[in-house]
């Protein structure tokens, strides 16, 4: 192996390791996606989320039962989301937005847009 080949191999290993570190940190739950809410066990998790104006928030249903996301003011309304389906909405204006699941109205949550 020449020195050049050795350097290429080291670079390749380094890049692979960097990729591995990035992929691992993205897949652990330690740093949840700051614009994502899951619906699990009949709850919005997290139930309150603070984002910057212009952010797109995504709700994903992880339950066997369908859920929906309906804004109290009528600003946004998903259809029924079956298991593993999701819904996204882009928040342009700062403010506090309350939402509920129209199928299970005890499920409530809040988005604060700064």
């Amino acid at each position: 192996m020449t020195l050049g080949q050795y350097r290429s191999l080291l670079t390749a290993v380094g890049v692979t390791m960097l990729w591995w570190v990035a992929a691992t940190s993205a897949s652990t739950a330690d740093t949840p996606d700051p614009t994502r809410i899951v619906m699990k066990d009949f709850k919005f998790v997290p139930s309150s989320l603070t984002v910057k104006a212009g952010s797109t928030v995504t709700w994903a249903n992880m339950d066997d039962e369908p859920h929906s996301v309906v804004s109290d003011t009528g600003l946004f309304r998903s259809g029924a989301m079956d298991t593993n389906e999701s819904f996204s909405f882009k928040f342009e204006q700062p403010g506090t937005y309350h939402f509920t699941c129209s199928i299970h109205p005890r499920m409530v949550g809040t988005i604060v847009v700064q």
Binding site: D41, A80, D82, P105, R106, V108
Partner: protein
Amino acid sequence: MSDDTVLQSRRNALKCMAYGGVGTLFTLAGGVLTPVELAVAADKQGAARLGKPLFVQISDTHIGFNKDANPDVNGTLTRTIDLVNGMAEQPALIIHTGDITHLSKPAEFDMAQQMLSRLRTTELHTVPGEHDTTDPTVTEYFNRFGKASDNKGYYSFDHAGVHFVALINVLQFKPGGLGTLGTDQLAWVAADLKGRSDSTPIVVFAHMPLWSIYEPWGWGTGDAPQLMEQLRRFGSVTVLNGHIHQIVQKVEGNITFHTARSTAYPQPTAGTGSGPAPLKVAADQLPKMLGITSVSIVKHPRSLALSDTTIA
């Protein structure tokens, strides 16, 4: 019926419920609910005493559901329809107390309508469940079933001297709250009942229970007490709901409350588990937990009889 017989049949009724139910029959006379052995209704003499079936209640068909709790909801609805079509005497009408579909999708409504059109009894009255009104524009249910109510969701009609009131309690949810009837609908009910004799038998039906069964899961209707105030003066009131996929009953004065089984899948009893998710049971147990409710007029013109039958 002697007290002994009543006790005996009560014991049998409880036994039926403990095993998921092979069917329990209830005679309602002047608002008092009395359990009767199903065998009494099954034999010809008993059936004659119970009178002509007035209507059959089908509920929570959830067409479109495909999870483990029942991968074949079309199959179990087909068995339900066969059961109704096989009744010796056909009911005059069919009531569907909502959650016709699972996700409010046009294809689910189309399939449900196609299947329900196989019923020999063609007069079908419906109210929507919250699963029928989750489409973004809340139009799929009303496009198909809105005519009876002029797209309002509530309406009334008369049959065989019985006054039927169909109500909607799945549209105006307060966040974190129960189902709601709303002031407009309550005012309409007051006007609808005004001038009717106290002796008119009343049947009220809506999807979500019109009495609080379990509030943490939303099993109730917040402003139902205002409705009950209007119904209290009548001698025989039967309140029929779906939503909770199991039979729960209560008698309060002359008002009998009854929730029906689903034809799709059972749900856990109140407070068991994290929420009212589909309950997975062994395949051979499932048909014993799905079924219909039929209601007959007994010989006395003022009384109705309720009977629950599974598709097992």
